[in-house]
Symmetry: C2
Subunit: 584 residues, 2 copies
Amino acid sequence: MNHQEALTVYIASFVSELVQSGVTDVVVSPGSRSTPIAMVMAEHPNLKLHIHVDERSAGFFALGIAKATKRPTALLCTSGTAAANYFPAIVEANISRVPLVVLTADRPHELRDVGAPQSIDQIHLYGGHVKWFVEMAPPEASDEMVRYARMVCARAVATAALAPSGPVHLNFPLREPLIPLLENNQLFLQKERLNGYVKIQQPTVSLMKDEWDIYAELIESAERGIIICGQIEEDGFSEAVTAFAEKYQFPILADPLSQLRSGVHSGKAIIDTYDGFLRNERVKHMLKPDLIIRFGSMPVSKALTIFLKENHSARQLVIDGGMGWRDPALVSTEMVYCQETLFCEEVAKRAETKQESCYFLKWQKINTYTKELINTIDEAEELNEGKLFHQLAELLPEEAAIFVGNSMPIRDLDSFYHFNQKSMKVVANRGANGIDGTVSTALGVGTIHQPLYLFLGDLTFFHDLNGLVAAKLQEVNITIILINNNGGGIFSFLPQSSHPKHFELLFGTPLDLDFSKAVEMFGGQFTSISNWEQFSQTLLQDRGKEGIRVIEIVTNREKNAEEHKKLWEFVSQEIDSWMEKEDA
Amino acid sequence: MNHQEALTVYIASFVSELVQSGVTDVVVSPGSRSTPIAMVMAEHPNLKLHIHVDERSAGFFALGIAKATKRPTALLCTSGTAAANYFPAIVEANISRVPLVVLTADRPHELRDVGAPQSIDQIHLYGGHVKWFVEMAPPEASDEMVRYARMVCARAVATAALAPSGPVHLNFPLREPLIPLLENNQLFLQKERLNGYVKIQQPTVSLMKDEWDIYAELIESAERGIIICGQIEEDGFSEAVTAFAEKYQFPILADPLSQLRSGVHSGKAIIDTYDGFLRNERVKHMLKPDLIIRFGSMPVSKALTIFLKENHSARQLVIDGGMGWRDPALVSTEMVYCQETLFCEEVAKRAETKQESCYFLKWQKINTYTKELINTIDEAEELNEGKLFHQLAELLPEEAAIFVGNSMPIRDLDSFYHFNQKSMKVVANRGANGIDGTVSTALGVGTIHQPLYLFLGDLTFFHDLNGLVAAKLQEVNITIILINNNGGGIFSFLPQSSHPKHFELLFGTPLDLDFSKAVEMFGGQFTSISNWEQFSQTLLQDRGKEGIRVIEIVTNREKNAEEHKKLWEFVSQEIDSWMEKEDA
């Protein structure tokens, strides 16, 4: 068997196993060294190829697909800095527990570290930011090496998916000639093990019977229990946690990424304005918990983080099926490594339905009252970053996917997007909270979930501007709400804003760009909004339309920070008066 | 001393030492965690800050500055994926031996690996791709810790500069509050060691006296010696190597990045069309060397690499002041670790001036004849990628900096840009040969060298499109010659081009973008050229003008590959006939 035959058999075995292991999508960046893998992949009838020229965007696009499908998504690029461009998306995937199978082509051993072109050290290229790294054996077609290719592939996909999910990296040394022999139309034909070379039985992260009883008893004994849900995406979790909460009469402080702020469940236990009222000292005093049960990653709200720190003597259970350590406040008393849905179901099963609790009612009342206060934001006539997010529940269609950029948009969404029953999905990159790759990740999500709405600031948009090309080439429809405050809006909320000397240079960083041009280049439609009526009309008119639609809302950084400050002062003062009345 | 005072003293000591160690430029990306370093840097009167929102572009922009200044350039960003975005530029800097001092802000220890926002594992973030990594001590202002900050800084800058130059990485754990106290107007005042905390005496990589004699003798005894110069930038090297070559009567095969194809030296020994004539078997046979002396990195020409492999029995000296292993053909017989200029000077000093050598004359004659043949490309009336580069020597102004993109432009420059005395500088990212970061690196070079001309293809332009913002914000003038063949032109030269089935999908990858829009967004001027006259006129008219000027030349990938093929066949056939005549 010559080199090309061996190359073909080895790569085809790998690609065949990739599909049998459940990978459906691969994002491919063009390159020479990766030619045999790309060409074989293109031959596979059950593998969807997405071509993306910029590997940084490609990485985030794959991240988006994996977030949406909850399946490992593959990436393929050539050797050299191409592979280094994946790094930001890999870091994000690792922290946010998203399964990626990263395949990089490499020079063969004899061309490494000898000044050969496009040759960099790719061994452990992503360090500890991947769950597993394999330097693949050079292609050979012996029975043993075919078994090896299949085994490594099955194992890589399973490792990416295993809780906590994350990225794995396989590096392929490939020698010229790089062209596989595709005339063989039995490329993926197998004689045995037709359902995949090796099945990996994934474990359930669970507890023993008596441990359930202990937790059930512990939770039942709490008088002032609360549940906190950060970002979590587990099938059945919304139902399980709401049933759990209603049984125990515990409020659920639901981060927008918990997927609990929208859905067909009753919403009775959902507290969605804590970011507003937990800024008030009297409220915080009144609501001191004795038990905190946390699910998912750390919520966005800074007010909530402070509340957690202040209540460090409360018992705090962190339920984590990913067996990590999600406790930046360093206040947890118990790390419970158990699948979140299962925990809710098994523990609730053991509990009596509780009487209506006075403590629970207090949370509900303050939440309802705060919501009324926040509703006054709708009176604002001028364009305003808060009101924008306050209107989403009403303006967006049923089943919309909302992708939200970091920095201010996610915080505003947290403050102003409240419970609704539209079953909208909220997605963000909240592993490392970067402003990079946002457009691309959203578009990856958009290959699965439509209609897709992306909310982001101008710096975030700029950072991943060329990511928009995927919308054009992969034909993903997207409506982008571009909150253009010409610079880094979040810094106006930080202490440096009171040091004007270098503020605009170092933090404000206005780019003064007319984004309509870039949007036009990608074949999109750009509308700059001048009033609220035009905003809602444009959103409604654009529903169901194809292509890229960008709606720009121009705001002012300084004024925005000022308005937020005023609103929270107003909310806190009104709460104070209201509490005085209640007490009287 | 409180936290903010200690933070200020520690950071100010570091920044002060950075400047005293010779760093003049720092590229800063906005962020919260890096606030104290950014604010202190902005206070320093002798540090030039370049603000860049996208850290990937920022990394390459710094790389460009460091290439041009030959001094370590600093980078500063916040924690999280921001730092991961530097990775491609760091990989390139490491291989192409460019000194960078990468400063990343990090969360303090108590916020690491506990799910805190914007917190990733930054320890050894760039693995083996940096020369030195230091996890900095948390800020303290004791005398000892101030000495520590200064020592690490001086050492980091020196390590980056030490041959082979490269990137170093310092990671700063910083705790809130992050605002330094800048009211103290004696921020950088020092009582002692006014010229820097510690001077690091860099070594000269040299040989002992008797070793010079041995090499002088060895080289003198060669009858058929050639010199090959790849990318090299060392003061005085051009003069030293041309004097050396003329003394020994050795031809210099000069890569465009050797800086030998342009300059005030005689050019007598320069061979600049080898990429054309080393495709001819008879010529290769005629020109078989017995000694090869190589300087700099591996040249671009594939024909030359093949020639080297075919002559593996010739003695081959690789002179490398960077003490690396630049020999992808695996044919070197001696690695000589010695500063290149010094080697030329010391060895030549020991040699008698040789008689005109017949072998040398053969190289010159074939070079002159090939140049005549290549000149026929000027007859082409249609726009053509080869002719474009053939005209540069004439069309570009004295002292121009030519930055050339990877993939086809660097190869075409190699084939068609011949010796001239205009002292033009040619720069490219030829460490890992990526298409990423090209616009940004060119702009970094452009902060020092003007006028700046960037030649690149459409995919390369697209890959770093948002890098253009630096031209706008940092006011760097640039003329971009965009060779737009709507996709990956190089693949039409590779074996996959004869497999049409998935070719356009996987390799051709047309983006169908109207780049004029993006250029307009950045405030640039865009001209699409339709004939050669318009091209030269536009280039001439644009001379000395400010801002971004993009000249687009639309070509056809397939036709381009075909024309190249035809030209080299023509050159080879004509050489054959000519040699027959010569022999007769």
